[in-house]
Amino acid sequence: MNRAKQWINALERSLFDDQPICSENERIRSGAITHFRLFELFVAAWAIAYAWTWGFYTFKSSVVVLELGVANYIPVASLFGLPSMIIAAVMTLGIAVSITRLWRWGYLVAILALHLQYVVRFSQGEIPHSSNLIGFALLALGVGFATHKDSVAQIRFTWGFLWFFVGLGYTSAAISKLVGTGITWIDGQHLVLWIHEKAIDYASMTGEWTPNVLQTAILESAWVGTLSLFIGWFTEAIGVLMWSRRLRPWVVLVTIGMHFGITWTMNIVFVAFVMQLILTGFPWVEWIVALRQRLSVSSSNSDSLTL
C-alpha cells in the first residue's frame, strides 16, 4: 500500500509539479502563461470548428444508427438540424466566457456540449477518434478551471491532467491491439491487407493510386511491414512515458513519427493530433523566453545605435 502511495505521489509530482509556471523566474513564468494562452486559443479554434462542422452535418441525418455516449439515454434524433446549431452556439459561448476569464465554468459547459454534439453527429455508424485529443484538452481545461480559482493551479492541473490522459490513450491503443488480435498483430501481412484496403479507397476517391516508396517496400517484403507494425505498436505502448516531463519530448517526437508512418502507409492524415502534440510536447516555454530575450537584446541594440 505504501509503495502504491509512493508511486502515485511520484506520478503526481511528475505531472503537476516541476512545471515552468512554478518557476521563481519571472520571465519563465511569463513565457509559461503565453504558451498556455496559445494552447487555449488552439483548443478553442479546433473545438469551435468541430462543433459547427458536426452541427451542419446533422441537417443530412434522419435516423440514429449508432448510440454513442449520452445518446444511449436521450433521443438524439430530435437534436438533428437546428437544435445542433444551438448546441454549437452554447459550446462557442462556453469557450468565449472562459477564454476571456469572465466565467471559469465555461470550459466545462463547452466540453459537455461538445460531447453531445459528437454523439449527435456520429450517430450514423462511424466512430472516428481524430477529435479525441482536442476532447481531452477541452476536458482538462473544463475540470481544471471549474475546480480551481487560482490561475497557476488551473494551468498546472490542465497540463498534468492532459498528459495523463494522452499518455494513457496511446498505451490503451497498444493494449487494445493485444486484446483484439494478440502478439500476431505485428504480422506484416496485416499491413499489406490494410494497404490494399486504403488503396481501393484512394483510387475510388481520386481515380488512381500509386504506392510510395514505403508502401512499395512493404508490398514487396512482409518483413518490412512486420517491422513497421512493431515500431508503431511499441511507440503506442510507451505512451505512458509522456507522464515524465523529461522523457515527454522524445516520446512525443517518436509518436509524431508514428503518425507520419501511418499517413505514409495507409493515407490516413492526423492533422489535429500532430498539431496538438507539436504545440504541447516540446519545450515551447524555453523557446518563447529565448525569443523574447533575443528580441529585447536586438531592440536595446537598435536603441543604443539611435542614441
Binding site: 509512493q6 505521489n9 503526481e12 509530482r13 505531472l15 503537476f16 509539479d17 516541476d18 512545471q19 512554478c22 518557476s23 521563481e24 519563465i28 513564468r29 454513442l68 455516449g69 460531447h115 459528437y118 454523439v119 477518434h129 479525441n132 482536442i134 476532447g135 477541452l138 476536458l139 475540470v143 480551481h148 487560482d150 497557476v152 493551479a153 498546472r156 492541473f157 498534468g160 491532467f161 495523463f164 490522459f165 490513450g169 490503451s172 491503443a173 487494445s176 491491439k177 483484439g180 488480435t181 504480422d187 501481412q189 491487407l193 494497404i195 484496403e197 481501393i200 479507397d201 483510387a203 475510388s204 476517391m205 481520386t206 481515380g207 504506392p211 523529461r246 516540446f282 519545450p283 524555453e286
Partner: protein
C-alpha cells in the same frame, strides 16, 4: 529539447516523498487538487467499461485492433462495350463478365468519385451493406452518380472484397451494377431485374 537544463522545481521533483516544504513558493501556494484527476480517471473507467469502450473523449482506442479481418469497399471502373445488333436488349450485357475478378492494386484505374462530389465512404457503405438489390436500390446508385459514360462505354460499380488466405492477401472486385449512356443494369447474379431511370 534540453529539459534537464530547466528543472523549474527541482527540489520537489527529486525529493523521495512529496513534500510541499521543498517546493518553490509559487509551487507551494498553487498546488492543484490532484484528487480530481483520479475522480475523472475512475469516471473514465466506468464510462468506457459500460459503453463498449467508447464515451467521447474517453476511449480504449480500438482502431486497427482486429488485424487480418476481411473488408468490403466499392469503386467504379470504366470498360468498353462490345457492339451489339440490338442494344436495347439484355443481350448486350452478355459480353460483360459479372463474375468476381482479381484486382491488382498496382494497376488501379477508377472513376474518381471525388470529381463527381460523391463521398467514398457513403458510396462504399451503400454498395457494401446492401443485401437486397431492389430496383429502388439500383435507382439510388443511378441518382448518386449524376452523369453517364460516353456511348460505347460502361461504368461498372464493383463491390471490392479483400481478405487474407493462408498468409497471402487477395482482392476481388465483383460487378454489381453496370451503367451506360442510357441504361442502368443490375448483375444477373443478384437479380435479373433492370431499371431504366
Amino acid at each position: 529539447m534540453n529539459q534537464n537544463s530547466n528543472s523549474y522545481n527541482s527540489d520537489s521533483y527529486n525529493s523521495e516523498n512529496h513534500n510541499v516544504e521543498n517546493q518553490t513558493p509559487n509551487a507551494k501556494q498553487s498546488r492543484p487538487r490532484t484528487t480530481w484527476l483520479w475522480r475523472i480517471f475512475l469516471l473514465n473507467l466506468v464510462l468506457v467499461g459500460a459503453h463498449l469502450g467508447e464515451f467521447w473523449p474517453f476511449s480504449i482506442f480500438p482502431m486497427f485492433s482486429k488485424a487480418g479481418q476481411p473488408w468490403s469497399r466499392a469503386m467504379v471502373v470504366e470498360t468498353p462495350l462490345v457492339d451489339s445488333d440490338d442494344p436495347s436488349t439484355a443481350q448486350q450485357w452478355e459480353p460483360i463478365d459479372w463474375a468476381p475478378q482479381d484486382i491488382d492494386i498496382l494497376d488501379l484505374q477508377a472513376i474518381s468519385l471525388d470529381e463527381k462530389g460523391i463521398d467514398k465512404i457513403d458510396f462504399s457503405n451503400y454498395v457494401g451493406k446492401t443485401e437486397q438489390w431492389t430496383p429502388e436500390v439500383v435507382s439510388g446508385i443511378a441518382k448518386m452518380i449524376p452523369d453517364r459514360p460516353e456511348q460505347g462505354k460502361a461504368w461498372l460499380v464493383l463491390k471490392v472484397r479483400g481478405r487474407m488466405d493462408d498468409g497471402s492477401v487477395s482482392v476481388q472486385g465483383e460487378p454489381i451494377v453496370a451503367m451506360t449512356a442510357d441504361t442502368v443494369v443490375l448483375s444477373p447474379n443478384y437479380d435479373n431485374q433492370s431499371d431504366t431511370p
